[in-house]
Amino acid sequence: MSTGTPARPVTASPAPARGDDATHPGRLAELTGTFRLLRLAVRRDRVLLPVWILSLGVLLLASVASIAGLYGDQAARVQYAVTMAPNVVARAFEGPIFGTSLGAVVMTETFGMFAVLVGVMSIQAIVRHTRLEEETGRAELVGSAVVGRHAPLTAALVLTFAANLLLGVIITVILLAYDLPVAGAALAGLLLMGVGWGFAGVAAITAQVAASARSANGMAGAVIGVAYFLRAVGDGLGEVAPSGVAVVSAWPSWLSPIGWGQQGRAFADERWLVLVPFGVLVFATVAIAFTLTRHRDVGVGMRPVRAGPATASAALRSPVGLAWRLQRGSVLGWTAGLVIAAGVFGAIGDEVDSFLETSEELAELFAGLVDGGGLVDLFIVFLMGLLAVAVGAFAVQGMLRLRTEELSGRAEPLLATAVARTRWVASHLVVVAAASAGLLAAIGLAGGTAFGLITGEWGSRFWGWVLAALVTIPAVWVLGALVVLAVAVLPRWAAAIGWGALGVSLVMGQLGALFELPQWVLNVSPFTHIPAVPAEDLRWLPVLALLAVAAGLATLGLAAIRRRDLVT
């Protein structure tokens, strides 16, 4: 209560006039209760945030270990840097290279990905403790207690900043453990922390502006996406430094916090001054967020909610219509993101040869996928495998909507009408299955079209892209059907089962060969069984088998949902 106590007399004094001058005594009172809320937030996140931080630490450990193995000696690193620096695609997708030390290679290979993950961790933490609290009505209860207007946001920011600080320390320690220089390790930790703090500030704003917690997360996520894209453009447009082993990025990189982090050049010629823009960003976003808090009602966004139709359209008046309406936003969001990704990959498919030279890991991975086939074909197979897992994430998320509907009590009035449970589940299943198929078709078309536009190769090459995407549909359906069964039989574990299965699919399908796992382990993932079209001919047996498994899981789920109590 250290924050609360000094503020008490202020609250008790005769009402201070509102906003008469900048230093009026109400300022401190607006923070009353911050420490208590912070303790509550820490308690609520006592599992989630440590898991995030530890996972990122383990991921970094594994990455550094693998990079140290591949590029252990100076000659290998020089070779890496020399091929990497002039390669536009590699610069855009992996990141700019600034030197030939082991640390510099680690930064190039990992910083972009870690910056995105740290950003996601931060925005989710902020929105979870601000806007989501308001949506559940808990903030109202808290707000009626002795809690200042700014206390919830302050507590969320302090918690998120502290989590990022801890992560920065852990990252520095891991890098030091590999005998990397102290200055670089310290700067790398600070830069990632800065990225986390910056996106936390961005989320603090979107949490005030957006109409709901979901869209607050979405808007802040879009900012991360734009930041990543800007630096990809800036690094892609950059040029090779006179040394031949470093890159000078173009100006768009400087528009992005992720770009600043990379331009900090940890383990090369450290530029400590990039910490200044981070400081400015954090200060500015937090200041804006606090100003917005003062002008906003609890539970309502700055963006007004528009009036809608007074009657339901014919399309909405059925379970499938409702399911589509509920899934529509997610479908459109995933489509936009994945079609753009597929288009970008399609556009660079041509340069895959030079890209592969920069990474022995990738080359090894490609070769392990299938015997024979051209490099471009292998690239398509590899890429579609990745994108199919992303669509699998959509399918898992979409089918878990059933669970959300049940837990929130919205399924109850629906199932009290003449809608059978099986029909309710089937409506979401149909929408998610159709949307996944449509998404994959769009991905294939986008990849093929972009490839065709760049290379002028259409015909069989174009259809290779499309077919490679379509052939993954049954594997995605297996994931979705598994979630249906989990929701019906083990509802409490449905989310864990769904996301766990997705994680297993990702590890087995894409990285399994790299880890040299035995085949029977790899066979657990539905994605392992997808025919490697267009690198090899389409085999119908695995496709039909996957379809049968999906149908079987879904049928079992539909039958089982009739047998249990609804959670109310």
Binding site: S212, A307, S318, P319
Partner: protein, 315 residues
């Protein structure tokens, strides 16, 4: 079976170690408004969810409109409408869309009646459900229910978020549907509402039926409150059989009388030359308090403003 809309006998439902319903009985005749009373956690909502086939019964007999609510859920749901006490709606749908959707899935609703109800309940159907208060979400469910022509209305504390004006509208709606022969099961702990509407009442407590009957029958079990002024002194009133809580001040008295003693007490009073006499009929609240009065915890009293009023100032 045709005279019985709901028949529940010896119904038992447990959730892990908790027994929610313990050999519970409930009978609702066709065309009646049946009040379903009990404090929070007594098992009202569990009963209604079993009647809806959302929960499965452990033991006992449940017949709803001649069918089995678990097995024949869909067919039965075409013939009933349900309003939960806590209505959750899809945040990105408008109120109007939610009304239409739920009505349509039930088997269609009466467009003219829908418009009429929206006006009577003063609901803005163009607003998103995320912006509605609890009372407005409840209006959405009520409008959707009453705009459907069904045989049975299952209403689970349907007015807990409504203001008194809207309460009146709700009562009018219930009378409208019973006028055309529909049956209403009205769970509530707002006693005035049940008194105003219900033909028969079942009281549930800790998963068991403790009382059931017409209001007249139940009133028979409770005492009438009387105030009297006479010319002769009222000494000895407190000692009469069947007289309770008497406060006598010379020729004035306030007291309660058991139904069986009413005749004797009136004859006794007549001998003392009555100047003024008021008697208030026993209320359901007294009945309720008779069953819960002693055991009511502070929480339960605080939950229901009506009960607080009774405890502090009996009518």
């Amino acid at each position: 079976m045709s005279t019985c809309a709901i028949h529940v006998a010896s119904l038992t439902k447990t959730f892990g170690p908790v027994t929610a319903l313990d050999r519970f009985d409930l009978d609702v005749g066709v065309g009646e408004v049946h009040g379903f009373l009990g404090p929070n956690g007594a098992g009202k909502s569990t009963t209604i969810r079993i009647l809806l086939g959302l929960l499965r019964r452990d033991h006992g007999e449940v017949v709803l409109l001649g069918g089995d609510p678990w097995r024949d859920a869909v067919a039965l749901h075409r013939r009933l409408a349900y309003v939960p006490g806590d209505v959750h709606l899809w945040p990105n749908l408008t109120g109007g869309e939610a009304i239409d959707l739920l009505g349509e899935l039930r088997g269609g609703l009466d467009e003219q009646r829908r418009g009429e109800l929206i006006e009577r309940f003063q609901l803005d159907p163009t607003k998103r459900c995320s912006t509605y208060s609890k009372g407005n979400r409840q209006k959405v469910a009520l409008i959707s229910a009453f705009a459907s022509h069904v045989e049975l209305y299952l209403l689970d504390e349907p007015t807990s978020g409504l203001d008194p004006l809207m309460d009146t509208v709700f009562q009018a709606c219930v009378r409208d549907v019973t006028a055309v022969g529909s049956t209403v099961l009205l769970s509530s702990h707002i006693l005035a509402e049940v008194e105003a509407l219900a033909d028969r009442v079942t009281i549930i407590r800790e998963g068991r039926r403790v009382e059931s009957g017409t209001l007249a029958e139940l009133r028979h079990l409770t005492r009438t409150a009387m105030r009297v002024r006479t010319r002769a002194a009222l000494d000895g009133l407190a000692a009469l059989d069947g007289v309770h809580d008497a406060e006598v001040e010379g020729t004035r008295a306030r007291f309660e009388v058991e139904p069986d003693a009413m005749g004797a007490v009136q004859r006794w009073l007549a001998d003392r030359d009555v100047v003024a006499l008021t008697s208030s009929p026993p209320t359901l609240q007294q009945l309720f308090l008779r069953h819960y009065g002693q055991e009511l915890t502070a929480d339960e009293v605080a939950d229901d403003p009506d009960q607080v009023a009774v405890v502090e100032a009996p009518r």
